[in-house]
Symmetry: C2
């Protein structure tokens, strides 16, 4: 069975919102690019805001699930290293223009506070995921360390559009080693 119209709309909207911005991308543009009637979109999503939320939810859920899977299926690497490696894969292939969530928070924090807050929630899920990976690796209840690791990943996201993904991924590994290595609190 072909991808449903709904999925087509989500794919197209994700691409356009991510590459061209949320406010700068009109509904007409989405339906034209998706090859779908305008009312088809509105049958699946009650408003543009709802469409944006679905796009964010779907994309970031995939990203979080991907990181989770990387940890679960890692070989000899540490959990955090496996996670960072999977993040780097996103940087190389799907996330060359920064983090879609931070873009959305920036564009909607005033105009649609609920949307921005949902974005922050998803970001906190990433922080939790990092915390859990650190626990697996023997760093227990070190929230500050998790924040530092997250800052590495977000720094890479932010600078990818400036320095390019290639340059940025190699610094992720280097910084991860520095930040983990200089911690004396490891308990196993």
């Amino acid at each position: 069975m072909n991808p449903s119209k709904r999925e087509t709309v989500l794919d197209t909207a994700e691409h356009l919102f991510y590459e061209e911005g949320f406010h700068a991308t009109g509904i007409d543009r989405v339906v034209a690019e998706a090859g779908v009637a305008r009312m088809t979109l509105y049958n699946h999503f009650p408003s543009k805001e709802a469409l944006v939320e679905s796009v964010l939810e779907r994309r970031y859920r995939r990203y979080l699930d991907d990181l989770h899977d990387a940890v679960a299926g890692r070989g000899n690497d540490s959990a955090v290293a496996a996670m960072a490696e999977r993040h780097n894969e996103w940087l190389r292939t799907r996330s060359r223009s920064g983090c879609i969530l931070l873009k959305a928070i920036g564009e909607f924090q005033r105009h649609r506070p609920a949307l921005a807050e949902r974005g922050r929630e998803l970001k906190r899920e990433l922080l939790t995921l990092i915390s859990e990976a650190l626990s697996i690796d023997g760093y227990h209840r070190d929230e500050a360390l998790a924040e530092r690791v997250m800052m590495i990943l977000e720094g890479a996201n932010a600078l990818a559009p400036v320095l390019g993904s290639e340059r940025v991924v190699v610094q992720v590994e280097s910084m991860l080693a520095s930040v983990l290595g200089s911690t004396a609190e490891r308990s196993s």
Copy 2:
């Protein structure tokens, strides 16, 4: 003498563009908030694009100059530490919603490539500034190290809207120590 109308427009536009987004902020909104006639704006700036560019230029120039001054006027701190401290001051007071340049690059990379490229140029100026500070501190020609330091600052910018400036500034110092400390290349 009162601040010129031009400065008033720039102040207002900077605030609105930064807090509410570029595409989401109309000219009408800017002139209303600035308490200025629409034609006054268009007498000083030929287009919205020109206004955006002036806003970016002015704000980021101030930021870069500020970092430069911090290095020049530092006490016993290292150059990079003085720079990071000044960056943290921006995070606490003027830059709580992420980096205005990265926001602009995100919103304009497709619609106004020239604007986005100008943004990237200014970002490269920051990288140069960091490189120079590292040179002062005895790390010579280590471009990768400069990129790592920059990733710390940008990671902090990116996460400030999620974790808050307070949490983020303390991690900057910690990470700076890790990243500099784990380098064996220091030559003085």
